[in-house]
Amino acid sequence: MNLVVTGLGAAVSVSGVAAVAAVVLPPRWRPGVVGAGMTLAGCAGAVAGGWALAGRTGHAVLPALLPLGTARIDVDALSGWFLLLVGAVAALVGVYTAGYVGRSGTGASSRTALAALPLFVAAMLVVPAAGSVSTLLAAWELMALCSLLLVVAEHAHAGRRGAAVRAAGVWYAAMTQAGFVVILLGLVWLAAACGGESFAALRDAAATVPGTVRSGVFVLTAAGFAAKAGMVPLHPWLPRAHAEAPGHVSALMSAAMVSLGAYGIVRVGFDLLGGGPSWWWVLLASGGAVSALYGILQAAVAVDLKKLLAFSTAENTGLILLAIGAGGLFADVGQPALAALAVAAGLLHALNHAAFKTLLFFAAGSVVHATGSRDLDTLGGLSRRMPLTTAAFGVAALCAAALPPGNGFVSEWLLAQSLIHALPPASTLNAIAAPVAVGVVALTAGIGVVTYVKALGTGFLARPRGARAAGAREAGPVMVIAMALAAAGCVLLAVAPGLTTPGLARTVTIAMGAPARGLAGGTAGLALPGVAAVYAPMLIVAGLVVLGVGVAVVVRLVGRPRRRAIAWGCGNGPQSERTEYTATSFAEPLERIFDDVLRPEHDVDVTHYAESAYIVERVRFRRRVPDRVEAHLYGPVRAAADRAGRAARVLAAGSVHHYLAYGLVALLIVLVAGVIR
């Protein structure tokens, strides 16, 4: 028993106790106790992860825990990276939960919803620590079930809100279970071919498995894990579930759970299978690239704040998968050091994304808490009424938009470096794939800035566009503390990315078998000595602060005091809030530019007076940007499933004789099949 296993054990035990406490305690005590339990469990998990990143490993075998096999815990640095990520997010969400869910005892603070939270955290901590197929699958399924319960926590809301929650629950349940089934098929196939189910056995035997089986296993597991990561076109659950779940659940799912999809792909693709042919990775990287572009475009035109953040999650996981795919491709064409750099960029982006997405969902949750609205078109004016929440969202938006000196910029910088230095290209495929990938990263970053300028500018700045935003009050102290802690995490990752490099180097060495090329850290920043590339965030921050403050002070000294006046309204006096630009109008030029991709739907409905067709009584305008991938890919599948279901009703005629006959026929088929074999 070392600190890794002890920490993990403590995390799981505390989670269990918190779950029991959620069931037995009165509503008044529930949020505080569950939140404290989650924070403790998260801290314990993060400590275990940090210890693993420092180079320790942890093993534990629990023979009688699972009905089908032995539960194995096997923690290495790769597990440690994700344990740290999940643990840190869970600890922050624990604090936020205590302030967010309220004490009503219904919805997000009901017994079930609060008991599921710590179990969800425990499951997410066990997933990266699992050391065998059955352990991984059991934890994965527990994670899926708990998160489903949490997504539908507010299903009892009246009207459209409740209906939307229930629809999100159905989508999420269907997609996550389908994902689980393909992962199960893939891993069981691999275990059968290797003759053992512990990861150590798979690792040893995977090289001797025939190529077709390896490819089949990779495609199946990658599809399942990518669905969890929200990769387009496996993403439709994501904008629904993240938008409809309560704020703390969205943060947990978007920051922590989605990253575990990337963990699964790295673990199976690199560690267990030991890499593979180029087409695997081109497939993955293309999915990532499409996901990044489509995700950020949908986010740029979204008017629902949480849906915007959800699509931005699809974008960021797209970039992570693009990095992992590029890594696999470089490894296959014999550039192991570059491959390690690309994977390092992907893993670092997973951590950075977790940090800023936690904060973004905290701030969004606090806005929903204060105004009851997620519609950017009716928000605004929060920078005066909720200054702390606005500041938190501002920090997170800077990071998420991948602008220097935010933390999102650090990992995108690293990803771009790994793609640019693929010279001289080792294969034709590389010569084509690398520039296209660079283009995707650049365009994604550009549109990302528009997205977050829109979210911050129309959601929080200017004057309120609706009565609810005008009456908003700042979030409670507990939520503010949670946001401050998450913001501190973002700032730390942004100004001192060098702190992560020792752990990152160990993680990548586990995954790729080679350290990242010349990735050197230090307190000042990141450096790639081999290619003379340096990023020194401390210097950028110091420069911006000193110059900005200096300029402001100098001009203030020579100039006159500031005065307030009404804004220019073309001589028409003060303008009402109705003339402000909204999120919809802000995104209109972009929507027009990417018209062919997004295909927005516009609906103009003009009503005339009965007396004359020339005098307009009322004009109604509606605009929607439907998810085309969902409509075209899932629409036919849903319709076919529906038709099949209706057709199958013929079989269920209600007669017991028929049912007995079905049983007999099925038995006969099984027997005949057994005889033939």
Binding site: Q417, V436, R556, E580, Y581
Partner: protein
């Protein structure tokens, strides 16, 4: 020592020269249009007047409106300290590369767009929306076309790219380099709000982009925004000149080379700005929704440049 002098001197130089460059462009324009013009010192006189006037914040705006002009100027100053304009030997050149420089440019644009949204007027929103839509296409182009050039230097450091260009003149006429030059030129026009993307002299609602964003600024706020915009133009023109005509840039850390570098830089800037001003006399502004086509075209050129630099490497 000389590295620090260059790091501190380049921002001062750019700050001093930028308004003169604007004055020079207006003078060229005026002469070509048969007017006398105001002389190249006029923008400096305007700035002096604006700094003394009181700044006005629109009712309902917050701290971001006040903070954006200093942030914008700070990003311009920081970029001027990093990029190789007169010399490649700035002490800070090794701490940030072209991706950081493009990021800082975008940070300035985003700060100003947020301030414009913070005014809560239709003009501010309109300007911010248009400016960000253009920036979303321009920044990737800037990034990609400089990537194409970084391939030949094997580094993303702008100083390394310029030094490599000065050392191997034959590489400057490669397909990748020419495609990148075309893409970068269009991107610079769009980023600095010049014709045919935006008209810096217009105040017509239907067409204005940058001017709509800064409509609410007055007094010293406006002076800072104007100065920063002029500096961004100077920086980008200087960068464009040095990436494709790198001769004369001081690549060694000596005082003589730096002095020559300053003189050559001023010459290049005057030439490029003169050509740009003459072009603006001849060109009409594009319709706003034709601009994306131009920018998409430049993005494709930049992508071709990167591809060429990989395939023909």
């Amino acid at each position: 020592m000389i590295g620090w002098v260059i790091a501190a001197g380049q921002p001062v130089l750019v700050m001093a020269v930028a308004p003169l460059l604007i004055g020079w462009m207006r003078l060229v324009r005026a002469r070509l249009e048969g007017r006398a013009g105001a002389g190249i010192g006029q923008p400096w006189r305007d700035l002096r007047k604006l700094v003394r006037k009181e700044p006005i914040s629109p009712a309902g705006s917050g701290w971001l409106f006040v903070a954006a002009p200093p942030v914008l100027l700070a990003t311009s100053l920081l970029i001027a300290a990093i990029v190789p304009l007169a010399a490649t030997t700035s002490r800070l050149a090794g701490s940030a590369d072209l991706i950081v420089v493009v990021g800082l440019l975008l940070l300035g644009t985003a700060a100003l767009a947020l301030a414009a949204l913070d005014t809560g007027t239709a003009f501010g929103g309109m300007g911010a929306s248009r400016e960000m839509a253009i920036a979303a296409l321009v920044e990737p182009t800037l990034l990609l076309s400089t990537f194409a050039l970084s391939a030949r230097a094997g580094s993303t450091s702008l100083s390394a790219i310029v030094t490599a260009g000065a050392g191997h003149a034959e590489r400057l006429v490669s397909p990748a380099s020419l495609l990148a030059a075309a893409a970068l030129a269009i991107a610079v026009l769009a980023e600095t709000g010049r014709m045919p993307v935006d008209n810096p002299a217009t105040h017509l609602e239907l067409t204005m982009v940058h001017e709509a964003m800064v409509l609410e600024y007055a007094g010293r706020d406006l002076a800072l925004v104007e100065l920063a915009s002029a500096m961004r133009l100077t920086l980008l023109l200087g960068l464009l000149a040095n990436l494709f005509l790198p001769w004369g840039v001081a690549t060694t850390a000596t005082w003589g080379a730096a002095a020559i570098g300053v003189v050559v830089l001023l010459g290049k800037l005057a030439l490029l700005a003169g050509v740009l001003a003459a072009g603006e006399v001849l060109l009409a502004k594009l319709r706003l929704f034709r601009v994306p086509e131009l920018l998409a075209g430049s993005f494709v050129l930049a992508l071709l440049a990167v591809t060429a630099s990989y395939v023909l490497a």
